[in-house]
């Protein structure tokens, strides 16, 4: 048992931190500071502990339903980091919107715990529960501006669709259980190696349903409809968390689920082809939807919702490459990490605009920013360049790896399409820069102003984006060494 505690230490610390945070907020009900500080401390300790243990060997515990490995540790550390950044960066926004409550931190911590366990789950049931642990706070946080009907709407849409998809996932799990007699990943894998027929319809349907559930979570078109609406309605820091933390956790899980059966086993060739075709078509649709619709958007949060849909498309390229023998999943991981650094900065920057009614940040708010706030313009530009995949930002290298691995596996036509989509969506990223630099401020444009911590978070993110854009060695070197599937 001691070993288990040792292995699970970061998670346990996080769990304990949740209780501590609850406790301090109960003790001092009128102030949200104690909860905030407690949450920060919890996240820092969790992050440090997971980083410290990062090189320990992977270990399956609880009858194989959980596996703690370098990947899960680094993901937990990443989630903690995202949590810290949004606690710091969202502070001012929450105050501004009059929703600064201790509950925010409780929910955030529980969400992170759920995500942290979800990426470690090796059992469909644990996965489902963890998914719900992550999702229930997410639904709530999306509706955190309780008096705003848009926020309500976002939460309810998220909840209804998420709930239905949760049931779909569960049905898929049941089918897989029915087909294989187990919900544990290793057993399912083992079963697939022994099944010479290359699966059966029950397994196929189950596998497909669980994949669809996570395709919904990562908003691969045509399962993306929830995303723009929820992004727009949710409070901006929550949108940021959805776009970074939940997206990363969901995509990593999706990769795991796609690799549930041993696709390279003999007899599974047809099945593997079917999976590839599915992923490929969804990648194409996601890229097209993401990049074609993004150029019509005027609201920044919606814009970045479509952006994340097309990012999903690029990620699916990496996923597709990983289905070929001998190809690792590192491009996907690196893409996710690179995306997170830019996205955190962007969403925190978005919180810096003063509220203007209930519409969030519109493109018009950016007009003439270079005159009003040149430094902020520079930050915006760098982050947007990274989103567009321009050189000398991390966004370039992430796309680079995904494209390279796809070309290497013979998916060149798909890469060409992806490249053209990148061009189209580059317009959407460039237009805000154009508005900031080339236009005079519109009379209706919002004021901009952020507190120290908010600006600090953005600067950190920009530094990360540029540093990793120039010197991606460390990140690439480390993430390349991580196997996703044991």
């Amino acid at each position: 048992m001691n070993e288990v505690i040792h292995t699970l230490m970061p998670w346990l610390v996080l769990a304990a931190g949740i209780l501590l945070t609850l406790l301090v907020s109960v003790i001092r009900v009128e102030s949200k500071r104690p909860a905030q500080i407690s949450a920060l401390l919890t996240l820092v300790v969790t992050g440090v502990l997971s980083l410290q243990a990062i090189s320990l060997p992977g270990e399956a515990i609880f009858a194989g339903s959980i596996e703690v490995s370098s990947l899960t540790r680094i993901l937990l550390a990443l989630f903690s980091l995202i949590g810290i950044l949004f606690v710091l960066g969202g502070d001012r926004y929450l105050g501004k919107e009059r929703i600064h409550l201790s509950d925010y931190y409780h929910l955030l911590l529980i969400l992170i715990l759920g995500a942290g366990i979800m990426v470690a789950a090796k059992d469909l049931v644990v996965l489902f529960i963890a998914l719900e642990v992550m999702s229930l706070p997410a639904y709530t946080l999306a509706g955190f501006r309780r008096n705003d009907s848009r926020s309500n709407e976002a939460a309810i849409k998220y909840f209804v669709l998420g709930g239905a998809v949760g049931a779909v996932f569960l049905l898929g799990s049941a089918f897989i259980f029915g087909a294989t007699g187990s919900t544990l990943f290793p057993s399912i894998h083992e079963w697939s190696r022994q099944s010479t027929t290359g699966g059966n319809p029950l397994f196929a349907a189950g596998h497909f349903l669980v994949m669809v559930a996570f395709l919904f979570k990562v908003a691969a078109a045509p399962f993306h409809f929830w995303k723009p609406d929820v992004y727009e309605g949710a409070p901006t820091p929550v949108t940021g968390i959805m776009s970074t933390l939940i997206a990363v956790a969901s995509f990593v899980t999706l990769v795991r689920l796609v690799h549930l059966p041993a696709l390279d086993a003999s007899g599974w060739e047809t099945y593997a082809t079917a999976v590839k075709v599915t992923i490929r078509s969804l990648a194409v649709i996601s890229l097209l939807v993401g990049s074609l619709v993004i150029i019509t958007q005027k609201n920044l949060k919606r814009l970045f919702a479509y952006s994340s849909i097309s990012q999903t498309g690029y990620l699916m390229l990496g996923l597709l490459a990983s289905l070929h023998p001998g190809q690792g999943i590192s491009p996907v991981l690196i893409y996710l990490f690179g995306y997170v650094f830019a996205a955190v900065g962007i969403f925190v920057l978005m919180t810096q605009s003063e509220p203007r009614g209930d519409t969030g940040v519109e493109l018009v708010d950016l007009t003439g920013l270079v005159k009003r706030s040149p430094f902020r313009t520079a930050l915006w530009s760098i982050l947007l360049f990274s989103m567009a995949g321009m050189p000398f930002t991390v966004g370039f290298f992430t796309k680079y790896l995904v494209f390279l691995s796809s070309v290497g596996t013979g998916e060149t036509p798909l890469v060409v399409l992806a490249a053209l989509c990148a061009v189209v969506s580059a317009y959407a990223y460039l237009r805000p820069i154009g508005l900031m630099v080339m236009r005079d401020a519109d009379p209706g444009a919002a004021q901009w102003g952020g507190g120290f911590w908010s600006q600090f978070v953005v600067v950190v993110s920009v530094i990360a984006v540029v540093f990793l854009g120039l010197m991606p060695n460390a990140m690439i070197h480390y993430l390349k060494g991580i196997p996703l599937i044991h």
Binding site: E132, G143, G233
Partner: protein, 102 residues
């Protein structure tokens, strides 16, 4: 007339699941929509138990316990959201929440 066999329950479970899904698509009353989700989860439970029976395993039963918990938690949160919405809009009709679009 054939004897009862467990797989027949699978068909029932799939049918109930689909009815739940249909309810979710057709109804605009959020309370009924939440009930439809409950239907779907119940159908899956039946599925798990049936497969357990067929496999001579108990894992399905255990899973059902957790799913029930999840269902309870989910309805609690769902109903909380509905109440929050009702406060703002005085309605539980999801047609009222189509502000976010395009």
């Amino acid at each position: 007339m054939t004897a009862f066999e467990p797989w027949m329950l699978l068909v029932v479970s799939v049918l109930v699941f689909c009815v739940g899904l249909l309810g979710l698509i057709l109804r605009k009353n959020l309370l009924v929509m939440l009930m439809s989700i409950e239907l779907m989860l119940n159908a899956v439970n039946l599925c798990f138990v049936t497969f357990s029976k067929m496999h001579h395993l108990l894992d399905g039963h255990l899973t059902v316990l957790f799913v029930m918990t999840v269902a309870a938690a989910e309805s609690a949160v769902g109903l909380g959201l509905v109440i929050a919405m009702f406060r703002n809009l005085r309605s539980v009709d999801s047609d009222q929440i189509q502000l976010l679009r395009d």
